[in-house]
Amino acid sequence: MGFILVQILTGLSSAASLFLVAAGLSLIFGVTRVVNFAHGSFYMLGAYIGLTLVAVFGDLFGRGHLAFWSALLCAALIVGAIGALVEIVILRRIYRSPELFQLVATFGVILVIQDLTLWGWGPQDLLGPRAPDLRGAIMIMGEPLPRYDLVLIAAGPVVLLLFWLLLNKTRFGILVRAATADREMVGALGVNQAWLFTGVFFLGSFLAGLGGALQLPKGGANLLMDFGVLAAAFVVVVVGGMGSIAGAFLAAVLIGQLQAFGVLFVPQSTLVMMFLVMAVVLVVRPFGLLGRPELVGQGRQMLDDPLRPTGWRFKILALVLVALLVAAPLWLGDYGLVLLIDILILALFATALHAIIGPGGLVSFGHAAYFGGGAYAAALLVKYAGTPMSLNLVLAPPAAALLALAIGWFCVRLSGVYFAMLTLAFAQIVWSVVFQWGTVTGGDDGLLGIWPAPWASDRVAYYWLVLACCTAGILALRHGLHSPFGYALRAGRDSPLRAEAIGIDVRRQQWVAFTLSGAFAGLAGGLYAYAKGSVFPNEMAIARSFDGIIMVFFGGVQQLSGPLAGAAALTWLKDLLFRLEMWRLLLGLAVIAVVLLFPQGLAGFLKARFGRFVGIRPELSS
């Protein structure tokens, strides 16, 4: 009995930090519609800055209560200021870009903060300071509970109460709630949204920083905190309902309990359980526990231009490019070919993802599941059936498609951020299954020895095979989007109601598109497995999914050639910088620079600048 009680209390204490981070994330999304990937980085910064400040304040003012708690508060305030700075310097310039484009910028911020933290505090995990007078444990019915947990247990409800007062009793809070519902109207009433957004970013980042600082005595600080908490915070926000602070609290408590008790029964799969809970909640309550349906019309502020058939000059340009690629082995060495193989495969992956994000209007945060699905399908066939490469490459796409078919059935019931989160949840579930089912998949060690058939074992031959498959795949996707199927898909994106009214089954259309997209991602995955000779769970991890999204938006989500440009630019950039010290910082800065300079993405910029030379009519400016 005492054991269960202590376990519940432990769960409540771990819910506190999670709630703080999630509340900030939810607030920022609700008002600014920015999915802030960097939120986990603010949490991490809160921990590191808190660590330093506790030491500094301790030296200055003695190691009492005042020094300790004011250090944590100051750390949170500094993180809040950093968040506000990110908003003013970067995000404010790109609010008019296509929806979700801002997340590319926040991804750049993640990279920058990672390297700066490494540079400032070093790579080793740091132990947190103990809070004064809160060392040791108290006994509850014969079971020990760390004293500091009591502080954390209290922190959640206190912050919830303060938050409630702020949102309901202050002008700032009323404006925040109004802007969450209809920010354009708030602007038309004379409120300068820019400062409102900055304020929201300050507050949200402050909460993340506070969450990071408060957990110091329990968890310390390490460089993996950012992504670690981000996934959990997303789950909490979505389970609770986007924009609902009370929902975030409820969900944080739920996840906290799940983690506390999950550790007892299935020690290694708390992450799976978390995502499983999220999937179940979203299937039953599509907008989270306390959320409400996303407002139609608020999400998509900008309509894409209609797709135009490719002009003949552009076709010639594409032919020249393909011809150059075919001839590339003539002057490229082994290294160049390996890089080109990567670029081609990722271009196919990004194009498949773009089909569902751009024309489909559904942002998948979990497409690595199908990329990895194809890779694992090929590798498992090699391992257990000993089938030849050509057959495996043929079977990889349908295997990935099958996975996408099953997952898509759940996901296409949702849209917007909820769709994104559910795809992420399923991808994480698939990832954990692969990761933990070591006897079949090799787990963390992956599957090795996936080598191409003898006829393709030469680097150049395999390069040509990849080139042929990827070109065919990209052309097929392109063709599909210009077909009646593609028209119906875009109709469903631009106006679901009107599309339904003229007899298009929008959901089915999206489901089919999602499955097809998964199939092409699977082809890319299969090719990737043979290119590397091995498969690891990494091919399915969040990072791979995010890479795909970054490529799509980086290149320009409104252009069909966007994912090609994005994949090429990002892969090349990574390769270029990888050997340098602080390459993450440089890559992050480069990503942010591109985002600021080309708010329509690389391909969007190229089209606007050079489009007329290849027969693409410049659009009327709108």
Binding site: A181, G190, S622
Partner: protein, 236 residues
């Protein structure tokens, strides 16, 4: 009469569809001007073009002698133009009082200063509902709230987009009385209307808009008296 609001050669497009062509329009101080026309003629677009929201526009929009065509909507609102959208767009989770708070701006010279209590005198229905979420009120109450919320910004000019749309006749009468009250208080009003009776009962002057072009400009009386004109541009 000095022009408070002036549109000179304004064209506007929604996405890529051009809706307005070379609109010239003037609203004087303390004047109530009606913009009448059929469904889809461009009434709402004209109003949105003044605020610069949802449409892209060319041409000049001047307010109190100042060119506002390059300003963001919130700056235009702060200069003293109050916008009441057609769809009302009240914040449904916020109470009536909170909605009013969102609209509040500092007192402005040359314009009456409003408080919730003063507004409840014009819209008595709202007084009893002040703590109720706006989403739980009727269409007529929401329309009143939308106007009251805009008045909290102490505007000199109010843009009313289709104020009588979808309202019961008795509410339409209250609306007309409210517009009369605003004029009394010294405000200028530009309203778009399909309901010619309503427009006729409140407006001094009228513009008839058809397919994005101004077809008539003159005293309201003349439009009401000229059946041929109405038949040409307004009858369905």
């Amino acid at each position: 009469m000095t022009a408070l609001l002036e549109l000179a050669g304004v064209s506007a497009a929604y996405l890529k569809a051009r809706i307005l062509f070379d609109i010239n329009l003037v609203v004087g101080e303390r004047e109530v001007v009606a913009l009448v026309g059929r469904n889809g003629a461009g009434k709402s677009t004209t109003i949105k073009a003044v605020m610069g929201i949802q449409v892209s526009r060319t041409g000049a929009v001047r307010f109190a002698g100042r060119d506002v065509s390059r300003l963001p909507a919130y700056m235009i609102a702060r200069l003293g133009i109050g916008y009441v959208p057609e769809e009302r767009r009240v914040f449904s989770d916020l109470t009536i009082l909170e909605n009013l708070e969102v609209g509040r701006q500092v007192a402005r010279q040359g314009a009456p200063t409003w408080t919730p209590e003063l507004l409840f005198e014009i819209f008595p229905n709202l007084a009893e509902l002040r703590h109720r979420p706006a989403g739980q009120t009727s269409g007529g109450e929401q329309q009143m709230l939308a106007i009251a919320r805009t008045l909290m910004g102490n505007p000199r000019l109010v843009l009313l987009d289709e104020p009588s749309e979808g309202l019961a006749p008795v509410i339409v009468e209250q609306m007309a009385a409210a517009v009369g009250k605003l004029k009394q208080e010294g405000l200028a009003v530009l309203l778009s209307e399909q309901n010619l009776r309503f427009a006729g009962s409140v407006a001094d002057r009228a513009y008839v808009i058809e397919s994005g072009h101004i077809r008539f400009e003159g005293p309201m009386r003349r439009l009401l008296d000229d059946a041929a004109l109405r038949r040409a541009h307004l009858s369905v």
